[in-house]
């Protein structure tokens, strides 16, 4: 996985430097923080029963983070444009391997401009590792319609179809996923609140191993506010999500239902033309039936961001 992330980072660099036009974007972010999750750790006992490991019901510790992101765009014929995006990210914790995360993304896009709006089609491949082990490969294709106003307001609607494939020990999670989502952003340049954005979406995940207890449907909605304060750009976001699984789980777990609420605040201060300091505070609460999926997460992070 690390090789894949390194390859993705190299692709990101190549993508950014292939053409030094205005559309080329290259970001590097290095951060440090602390995370705390209350997820229970589970084990299968000798007699096959599900056991929660007492005393190991909390994942917490310092976390380091490094991310590289690049994208570029080329005009093809007429209003048609081609874009390439690459992203590599690794997160590690010296105290808990379970907090380690790796991600690599490659995405291509064709976009047809029509006035202030455009239609895009974007195939992508996302690789995820959790706790230093390969976890998921997600390939998808996305169709979107997006329109940007002169004042920075925005409307977007997306339809996405994807496939989850997993490492050998998680094959049961292989699934087909379809979703519809949208955003609407308003800008208020001279008001105390500079921007408001709402987003919402629905998704359907169908298990490919004929395990209905892992198939689920869900919906989410979020609202985000942006403002300036003390020389920095601030954003606050609230996200509400619900999921319902289709059948009872194994070992008498019952039908899983999740209600997830996340709140976060981020502030960013420019240090120079290309460098910025960012800090964020996030908290989330997943309330689930059955309760083994309950989780409360708190995270604080400070990062340096370099942009070219």
């Amino acid at each position: 996985m690390r090789r894949l992330i390194a390859a993705c980072a190299a692709l990101a660099c190549a993508t950014a430097v292939t053409a030094a036009g205005d559309s080329a974007r290259f970001d590097v972010e290095a951060g440090a923080g602390r995370e705390d999750s209350s997820s229970p750790l589970l084990r299968l006992s000798e007699d096959g029963a599900l056991v929660q490991i007492v005393g190991l019901s909390r994942l917490a510790g310092p976390v380091g983070r490094l991310a590289v992101d690049a994208s570029n765009d080329w005009a093809l014929t007429g209003p048609l444009r081609l874009s390439l995006t690459a992203h590599g990210e690794t997160r590690w914790s010296p105290s808990s391997r379970s907090l380690n995360l790796g991600a690599a993304l490659a995405e291509a896009g064709l976009r047809w401009q029509m006035g202030t709006g455009s239609i895009g089609v974007s195939p992508s491949l996302l690789l995820l590792s959790v706790a230093n082990r390969p976890f998921r490969a997600a390939d998808s294709i996305r169709f979107d319609w997006s329109e940007v106003d002169v004042d920075g307001g925005m409307r977007a609607l997306r339809v996405e179809s994807g496939r989850y494939r997993h490492a050998a020990e998680y094959l049961d999670l292989d699934a087909d996923v379809r979703s519809i989502s949208g955003n609407r952003r308003w800008k208020f340049p001279v008001a105390a609140i500079e921007s408001i954005e709402i987003a919402a979406g629905v998704r359907n995940e169908r298990n490919r191993r004929s395990l209905p207890d892992l198939s689920n449907r869900g919906a989410h909605a979020s609202v985000e506010l942006g403002w300036k304060l003390a020389g920095g750009d601030w954003t606050a976001n609230a996200l509400w999500q619900v999921s319902r699984f289709r059948a009872p789980g194994p070992d008498g777990l019952g039908v899983r239902r999740d209600r997830f609420l996340a709140l976060d605040v981020t502030a960013e201060w420019p240090l120079s033309q290309r460098l910025a300091l960012r800090t964020s505070l996030a908290t989330s609460d997943n309330r689930s039936q059955p309760a083994i999926y309950n989780n409360r997460r708190h995270a604080v992070d400070i990062a340096l961001v370099a942009r070219w």
């Binding site: 750790l41 976009r111 995820l128 996340a262």
Partner: protein, 61 residues
């Protein structure tokens, strides 16, 4: 159906609840792709022919 695999799957999902769900605001600022969000750029052609880019971020499926 392998019960051990199913339990491991359950534990993995718990981990993902902690790791893979992140809000759009952080994605917008840091493109935390691994955390469940994705961003793309939308070009708009100005009257003078120049192009303005707007970043659109959303929660992944």
């Amino acid at each position: 159906m392998k019960l051990a695999s199913r339990i491991a799957s359950a534990a993995a999902i718990v981990l993902l609840v902690a790791a893979a769900v992140q809000s759009p605001v952080q994605a917008r600022s840091s493109t935390n792709i691994g955390h469940g969000t994705t961003c793309y750029n939308v070009p708009t052609t100005n009257p003078d022919g120049s192009i303005t880019w707007t970043r659109v971020c959303f929660k992944r499926a």
